[in-house]
């Protein structure tokens, strides 16, 4: 399975996700809504390290983030599924490295993650539909906009690590 986890510092970069969620930097918000940092980290990780590692990383991130947030809704199902799906894409297809492709995958990922949260919150009966849609759209758009620069950089770094490990 995972070549990236052999490099401890690569795994340690996952700590950036809860840190960014907690720090919630103001300039990186759209209409008061932060991007889906978990998606921005998980996408390159899963593309480089495969479906099993991606799913496990999604599960781990989901556990941490659910611990940081209140309420019954969970990010675990969407993140685990996304990790597995992106891992399969990274393994089976040609290498994905174009900015547009990364942005599109992040858009779909953030939309799925937000959709799962939206569904859970509607089922739980807490959120009215309009504010939830506003949050969902803002987070999806912002994540897609940030994905090309951030995910390209991570892909570059991690592919170098895995290539270095093979050679």
């Amino acid at each position: 399975m995972s070549q990236l986890t052999r490099h401890r510092w690569c795994l340690a970069t996952a700590l950036l996700v809860p840190w960014l969620v907690l720090a919630s930097p103001g300039p990186l918000k759209l209409a008061g809504v932060a991007p889906a940092w978990a998606v921005l980290w998980l996408l390159p990780w899963a593309l480089v390290d495969g479906p099993l590692s991606g799913a496990l990383a999604g599960l781990g991130l989901g556990l941490v983030l659910d611990g940081l947030h209140l309420g019954p809704i969970s990010e675990i199902p969407a993140l685990a599924l996304l990790g597995w799906w992106w891992g399969r894409m990274g393994r089976l297809g040609p290498p994905i490295e174009r900015s547009f492709s990364l942005g599109l995958l992040a858009l779909i990922g953030a939309a799925l993650l937000g959709g799962s949260l939206l569904l859970q919150s509607l089922l739980a009966g807490g959120w009215p539909l309009l504010p939830a849609l506003h949050t969902w759209l803002a987070q999806t758009l912002l994540t897609a906009l940030l994905a090309p620069p951030l995910c390209s950089l991570q892909l570059l770094l991690w592919r170098r690590q895995t290539l270095g490990g093979r050679s």
Binding site: A34, I73, G126, A132, H134
Partner: protein, 246 residues
């Protein structure tokens, strides 16, 4: 020259000599009728350099503030004593100040993380205030942090009281920056600008904490009137909060 005309000339001359006095009399009459206009203004103009300066104004203001604080503390003591006599919830024993170390007032979760936790005596369910009023309740604690569910969180429900109309309502977070106040009856007579405080009968939060101001009212809401509340504490800019220890 006719003798009659000679006699009228001195009278006209007398009037001409007396006209300044007539004018003065008229001016004094005007002063009398206008309650001192002119005199008071002239006095104000001349005495302006000797008016009390800003220092005296500050002294008066600080004296007024001191007076208000003293009255407030006396009223609080009275209020606490009366509430204990009525066996209602009291305002609490004290408060724990805590810095805000993470702020997420928007998005899927509307919460703050504060830098005081179980070690400082913070417990789940405690009320949290900021400059301006109540902002939420502690939802979970770790040894050194606590997570505060804001009033804007969709899971938040707090009983509130609108003093002007003497009506209770339920303040419900809807995921936006302004929570919704749901009244228990139709047409309670609420209007924008009414101040919302925590309910005197609430068992979850201390009574009479300022919450916010009614921003708009939807009287056509079903089954009862709804109102949007602008919170008085600025959630986006809160740096320090106080956790009320019951």
């Amino acid at each position: 020259m006719p003798p009659g005309r000679r006699q009228r000339l001195p009278a006209l001359g007398g009037i001409l000599q007396a006209w300044p006095w007539v004018l003065l009399l008229l001016a004094l009459l005007a002063v009398r009728l206008s309650k001192g206009a002119g005199f008071a203004d002239a006095y104000a103009l001349l005495s302006r350099p000797f008016w009390p300066g800003s220092a005296q104004g500050e002294w008066l203001r600080s004296a007024e503030i001191l007076n208000s604080q003293t009255r407030l503390s006396q009223l609080e003591v009275d209020n606490r004593r009366l509430r204990s006599l009525l066996q209602l919830q009291t305002g609490g024993k004290g408060m724990v100040s805590a810095p805000v170390i993470s702020r997420q007032p928007g998005g899927w979760w509307q919460q703050l993380v504060i830098g005081s936790g179980a070690l400082q005596g913070v417990r789940p369910g405690m009320s949290v205030t900021a400059p301006g009023g109540l902002i939420g309740r502690v939802a979970s604690v770790t040894p050194s942090t606590a997570t505060v569910a804001l009033l804007t969180d969709p899971g938040s429900r707090v009983g509130v009281w609108v003093g002007r109309i003497q009506r209770h309502g339920l303040l419900t977070g809807i995921g936006t920056s302004r929570p919704l106040l749901r009244f228990l009856e139709k047409d309670p007579g609420v209007r924008p600008g009414d101040v919302v405080v925590t309910s005197p009968a609430s068992t979850l939060v201390p009574p009479n904490l300022t919450v916010g101001v009614i921003q708009s009212v939807d009287e056509r809401a079903v089954p009862a009137t709804d109102a949007v509340v602008q919170l008085s504490a600025p959630l986006d800019a809160v740096d320090w909060v106080q956790v009320l220890v019951p």
